[in-house]
Symmetry: D2
Subunit: 303 residues, 4 copies
C-alpha cells in the first residue's frame, strides 16, 4: 500500500500548478502550494502514507464533520428539525435557498448548516471551543492539536457572509445564541491545524461502525455512522458531490485548506491534502489522488 500511495503521489503531483490556493483570507493564501500528502488508516490500525503526511494544515470545512458528530451525540434525531439532509444545489455560501426555505439550511455541510450545528453545540457546552478541541484531540489521538489564532481572527474579520447567514437564520427563529459568539466558535474550529495522519485517524470511527479503536470510544452508534456517511456521500463535497460520487465513489468531506477525508466503510479512513483548489473549492490533486486510489483498489462503494 505504501508503494501504491507513492505511485499515486507521483501521478498527481504534476497537477499542482493548475489549481488555485484559497485566498479569501490572507492567512490561508500564504501556504506553500507545492505540497501533497496522503494517509490511509485501516480499521486494524495500520497506517500507510506518502508525501507530506505530517505537515499541519488548516482543516477548515472538514471541521463540520466533527461539529456534526458531536451534535449527534447530544441531540440525536432531534437535530434534524433545524437542519436538513438534502444536497443544496447551490454554492456553499448561498443565502437564496436559505431565504426560500425559511431559514432551515439544506444540510450540515453547507456554511449555513454548519452554523446551525455550531449554534446547537454552543447551547450545549459551557466552553464550546474547548469541548470541540478536546473531542478532536481524543479522536485523533493527538493531545497537542490546536487552533491557529491568526487564521481564526482573520476569518472573524472577514465574517460578513457568514454573519449574514447567521442573522438570516436568527430572523427565521433558527438560531439561539449570540451570532458573534457562535461565529467565534465556528472559526476556531475551522482554524484547527491537523495533518493527514491526524485526520485519517480522527475519522476512522466513520469507517468502523462509530467506534474509535485507538481511543476506545464508541463515538456515535453504528447506525449513526452509516447515516453520516450517507450524508457525506450526498453533500460532503460542496457543489461537487455528484461528480465526486461519479469519479471517486466514497463518502468524503473537503476543506478549502486543501484537505479531503474519505471513508471506505468497514475498512479504511483516508486523508489527502494538497492546497490548490479546483473551481468547486476542492483540492485538485486531492480528488485526482482519491480517484486513482479508488480505481486501483476497487474501493468505490458503487461497484
Amino acid at each position: 500500500m505504501n508503494e501504491l500511495l507513492q505511485t499515486i503521489e507521483n501521478t498527481v503531483r504534476p497537477l499542482i500548478g493548475s489549481g488555485k490556493v484559497a485566498d479569501y483570507i490572507p492567512a490561508l493564501a500564504n501556504v506553500n502550494p507545492k505540497q501533497f500528502g496522503i494517509v490511509v488508516y485501516s480499521n486494524e490500525g495500520e497506517l500507510f502514507q506518502a508525501g507530506q503526511a505530517k505537515v499541519d494544515f488548516s482543516i477548515q470545512s472538514i471541521s463540520k464533520v466533527f461539529s456534526l458528530t458531536l451534535a449527534i451525540k447530544h441531540y440525536g434525531e432531534d437535530m434534524w428539525q433545524r437542519v436538513g439532509r438534502e444536497p443544496s444545489g447551490h454554492p456553499f455560501n448561498s443565502l437564496v435557498q436559505l431565504e426560500y426555505e425559511s431559514g432551515v439550511p439544506r444540510n450540515p455541510f453547507i456554511n449555513a448548516g454548519a452554523l446551525v450545528v455550531s449554534d446547537m453545540n454552543q447551547s450545549r457546552f459551557a466552553s464550546p471551543h474547548y469541548a470541540m478541541r478536546e473531542y478532536i484531540r481524543r479522536l485523533a489521538g493527538n493531545p497537542k492539536l490546536k487552533s491557529d489564532k491568526v487564521v481564526a481572527d482573520s476569518e472573524f474579520e472577514f465574517r460578513s457572509r457568514n454573519a449574514s447567514m447567521a442573522y438570516l437564520m436568527k430572523a427565521f427563529g433558527n438560531f439561539e445564541n449570540d451570532v458573534e459568539a457562535v461565529l467565534h466558535s465556528y472559526f476556531d474550529n475551522c482554524a484547527m491545524r491537523m495533518n493527514c495522519v491526524d485526520l485519517a485517524k480522527a475519522f476512522s470511527f466513520l469507517a468502523n461502525k462509530g467506534y474509535c479503536h485507538h481511543s476506545g470510544e464508541q463515538v456515535i452508534s453504528a447506525r449513526e455512522a452509516k447515516q453520516v456517511n450517507g450524508l457525506l456521500a450526498t453533500s460532503g463535497l460542496y457543489d461537487e458531490a455528484g461528480n465526486f460520487a461519479y469519479r471517486v465513489g466514497l463518502p468524503g468531506k473537503s476543506g478549502v485548506g486543501g484537505g479531503i477525508i474519505a471513508i471506505v466503510p468497514n475498512r479504511f479512513s483516508v486523508c489527502v491534502w494538497s492546497p490548490e483548489l479546483n473551481k468547486s473549492g476542492n483540492s485538485l490533486a486531492g480528488i485526482a489522488a482519491l480517484e486513482a486510489l479508488s480505481d486501483h483498489i476497487g474501493w468505490s462503494i458503487f461497484g
Copy 2:
C-alpha cells in the same frame, strides 16, 4: 430471503393508507392503492419475492435510468457536456435553476435532464421509442413488455410543464429535435408497464459491473456502471436523495407509479412497488421496505 421479504411486507403494509397515489393524470390515479410487491434478484440469478411481484405498473421516472444508460452506450463522456452530474436541490420539475444555469440541467434524473437525454437518443435512433422498448425487453428478458398508450397520451395532453422545460432548453441551444416529437418518445418510455420481477432483472447489470447475465450483454462498462450508481445515490430520489442515503444507503431510482429500484453493488438488484407516495413523490411503503431490508441484512453501502 423469501421469508424476510414476507416479514417486511407484513411490516410495511400498514403504512398503506397514509400516502397518496399520483393523480396528475387520470390514467395513473385509478390504480388500486392497496398493492405492494418486492423482488430481490442476485448476481447469481436467484429471484426472491413477496407480494404482488408480478403485477404490472407504470414505471414512469424509473425509465430515466434506461434512457441514461442507452445514451451512455452511444455518447460516452461526451454526454456530460449537455447535462450535469450534481444534485439539484430543487423540485424535479423546476425551471428556476434551469434558467439560472443557462439551460443545462443539473442531472439526468430531474425532468429537464431526462428530456435532454431523450433528445440525445432521439438524434441517435431512427425510431427512438422502438429502440428503447427493445433495449428494455432485452434487459428484462421479457419480450412482451410494452408502453401503455392511454397513459402516454394522457401525459402528452398534460405536457405543459415538460414542454416549458424543453422549450427553455431549446432557447438556450441545448435541445436538437422537435419538442413535441421528443415529448412523445419521453412519455412513451415513462408509460412502459413492468412488474417488480421485470425491473429487478432489468437493472441487474448495475449490480454486476455492467453485465446482464440473462441476456449475456455487457450493457455498459464496469466503470460506467459504478458511475451510474454514484449518480443514482446522489440524485436518484427526486428531492429526497439525502434522506434515502441516510435511511436506506443504496443507489436507487423512484417513479411516481410507486416503483423504486435499488442496487446492492456486486450482489443484488432490488425492485419494490407500492402506489402511494410520500410528499417527495416516492413510494411511502417502498422506502420503508428498503429501509427495513437494508437494516436487516446490513446492505447499506455506507457501513
Copy 3:
C-alpha cells in the same frame, strides 16, 4: 416645436453608433441603424416632427399596449385576475418569477404578461390578428397598416423562450388557448410596421382621457386611460422603468425595434424612434431625445 425637435435630433444623432441593433432574429438585424425620427402630437391635433418620422419600423413590444387596451375594453377589471400590475424586477423574458408566483405574470408589459393578454384576446375574437389590426388602423387613422410576415415568421421560428413561458402558464392553468395559435397572434402584432406619425396618433387617446379625436372613438374610459398610464410609468420600459421615470418622467413603452412612445397626460402623445438599443433593450438615442424634450419643456409629470 418643430425647431425644438430639430435641435433635439441634432443633439442626439451623435449617440448613434454607441448602441446595438436587436439581432435575435435576422429580419430585425438588417435595419439601417443610422435612423432617427420624432413626432409630437397634441390633443388639439397638431403634429410636430423631425427626422425620419415617416419611415416604417417594427413596433415589437409597443404592440403590448394595443393588446392591453383592447383586452381592457372587453374584460375590464376582471383581467387583473390573470396578470398583475407590479414591476417585475427581472428581465422581460424571465421564467424564474413566473414559477415562484404560480404562473401569474407580474404585469402586462413583460413577455409573459403580454402572452396572457394575447390569450385573453384570442378567446374573445374569432380572428384575433384581424381584430387587432383593424383596431390599430383605426387608432392610427391609417387603413394601410399591416404586419411584416417575414418578421412574424422569423419570430415564430425562434419562439422557444416565449413558448416556454406560455407552456409554463398553461401548466399553472393560466392559459386557455393553444400555445402555438396564440404565439402566431402575438408575433403578428409585434411585427406590425408603423412609423412615428402612426404611433403618436395611435396613442393620443392615452393623453386625452381615453378619447381618440381623429377616429371619434372613446377607446377606453378616462379612468382606464389614467390607469394604463400609471402602469406604463411603473413597468413600460423593461427593466429600466425606474431610470426612465428618473430621467424622462413620463409614462412610456419601448420596443426592440427602437421605437418608444411616451404620454404627456392631457397634452401630447410622443413617438421617437432610433434602432440602436442600450443594454436594457431600449432605444439609446430615443431615451436621450425624450430626456432632452422633457427637460426643455418641463413636461415631466414629477415636477
Copy 4:
C-alpha cells in the same frame, strides 16, 4: 378642501378593522388602530386637515426619503453607484435579489437600499442621527421632533433581518461602516415620531421644485426633486408601487407605522395616516383615502 377631507375620512373610516397593525416589534403593536388623519399642504402654505392630524406616530420607512434626500445633497449622482433606481419586484426585505445582484440594492426604498444610504450618511456625518434629526426638524418646521427610544431599541433587538442584509452587502464590499453602528442610526431614523402636519410640511419641498418655503431652504435642486418623485412613483410603496400608480397616481412613500406621504407635483404635499396595514404593508385606509382624494380632485399625474 377641509370639507372634502372630512368627507373622505367618513368614507374610509369603515375600512378600519379589516387591516392589521404592524406587530413585528411589540412597541408598534400597541398603537390604537382606530385612528385616521389626513393633511394637505399647498405650495402657498395653506394647511387642510381632517381626523387625528396632530397625533404623533412612528414614521418608519417614510424616513427613507429623508435619508435619501440628505444623501443626494452630499453625494449627488455618485450615490447611484451603490444603489439602483429600479423597482425590485421582491418583498422589501428580500435577500435573494441582493445576492444575485452582487450586493447592490435595487432602489433606496427597499430595506437594503435604505441601509446603504444610511451607510453613506454615516460616513459623512460625525453624528449621523443628530444630523438627520436636525434636518427633519428644519423641513417640518418643528424643533421638538424626536425619535422614540423604546421603538428604536426594540427594532435593534429584532435587527436580525436587517443585520443579515447589511452583512451581505458588506461581504460584497458595498458597506463602509460598522454594521451595528449604522443599524442604530437607521432605527433611530425609523423611530422618529411625527404627525400628519409635520410630514406634509416636511415633504413640501418635493412638490415645490426642491424648495422648502417655510424654512427658506433649497433642499435639493428642482431637477433632483423631480427625480426623487420619479423614484417614489416607481418604488415608493413596497411591492405595491404599480397598484398605487394604478389607483392613486401620485409619487408616494409609506411606512409600517401606517403613514403615507404623497406628492402632487407643483401643487401639494399630502400626508395620510391610519395604523392598520394591507397585505403589502401599506395603510389600508390611507391608500383608500388617497385614491378618493385623487379621484375627486383629478390629481393623478397620469391623466
